[in-house]
Symmetry: C2
Subunit: 220 residues, 2 copies
């Protein structure tokens, strides 16, 4: 490992995604590898709009598959799943409360608590009272956080964070960013840990490949 390598990994998340929950269950693997996690709340719906793509839950066959996959992954790893009472739900207040926390450690603790409450325990994160209780359980200033979530400055901070992520190439959640390299999906934590130990294995062919042209177009 190189001493000059940044040891911070950004963790872009929106609690609306069950894969963010699956990823949050493995964050200790990153901490054990000496990484510091910087939770970056963003609005997943904003990513979909920016890239003009449908969300997995917006394609019926994919929605059925995705939740079967999430439950199978949960069973395989021994995580209790309950899932939120409605889905998708509005995650804005949860995201705003999270982004109002300036300390990375507090943001991480709150983000993990949000994910467990929603996907593990089946809580409704669109309910302000539920969010207040989660903040309270984390030992955070509930009233202050609730007030902050309603302020224009915090609302704007979430918009800017979402746009910054889009500019960095983020198109889905969870996405980890390590030294500018993206890792998308709860199933890319192995790849991220591999990268920590192999910082110099380059993708010399990537730039060349990305410049190759299409020779066929989909007929829709």
């Amino acid at each position: 490992m190189h001493a000059d390598i940044d040891r911070v990994v950004q963790f872009y998340f929106d609690p609306v995604s069950p894969y963010v929950w699956l990823a949050s269950k493995q964050l200790d693997r990153l901490v054990k590898a000496g990484l510091t996690i910087d939770c970056q709340p963003l609005l997943f719906a904003g990513l979909l709009n920016a890239h003009g793509q449908k969300g997995p839950a917006e394609i019926p066959a994919k929605r059925t598959y995705i939740f079967g996959d999430v439950l199978r992954e949960a069973a395989r790893h021994g995580y209790a799943f309950n899932g939120p009472p409605t889905h998708p739900y509005n995650p804005l207040r949860a995201l705003r409360m999270c982004i109002a926390l300036e300390q990375p450690k507090e943001r991480l603790a709150f983000a993990q608590a949000l994910m467990d409450a929603c996907w593990g325990e089946g809580k409704d994160l669109s309910n302000p009272d539920v969010l207040d209780r989660i903040a309270d359980d984390c030992g955070l200033g509930t009233r202050q956080l609730g007030t902050a979530a309603g302020q224009a400055e915090i609302k704007n901070k979430l918009i800017v964070a979402t746009n910054d992520a889009i500019a960095a190439g983020v198109f889905g959640v969870p996405t980890f960013c390590f030294n500018g390299e993206l890792f998308w999906g709860s199933d890319r934590i192995d790849a991220l840990l591999w990268r920590v130990d192999h910082p110099d294995v380059g993708d010399a062919k990537l730039k060349d490949f990305l410049q190759r042209k299409a020779s066929a177009q989909r007929v829709t």
Copy 2:
């Protein structure tokens, strides 16, 4: 393991996807687990059309990410990557030649050879001469296969196979199907092998979860 469980796994593929190549590198893991692989060629573009979704290569940020991810996965597992001279390319003739093979073992050998030629060696699978050489190297009747690929009956067989896959809930490639359960992605082979050993671990909560309603809609 249960003796009454079907030991056949369908492997839905289109060589246009680099993840199909990454999956094809691990098929021996399935064979070692006692599974018989039944290669099912289909047209990926047909899946996209049916489900009204964009392909990964059709979203610029996702295209850049996807190929970086593929090269990283290849480096991580020690697979030599070259990639086709153009992408996407027209895979129809390759798919038709494959589906013209009636023996599952021949289909599998040809499918693997297609994937290695395209993604490993950088061959152009839209070129009939390239396809003939691959078939020849597999010891298959090149002339007969080339003729079959042009026949209406074989063309129709590919359309029917694609539609059957769509009806079974397939929305992407690679997808494996084992006892009616889908496993999407080269990164779900671990889950498939887990399922072989855990046929009775149910998803009792899945049906209930899928019936839950949305309480928010994305504003586009």
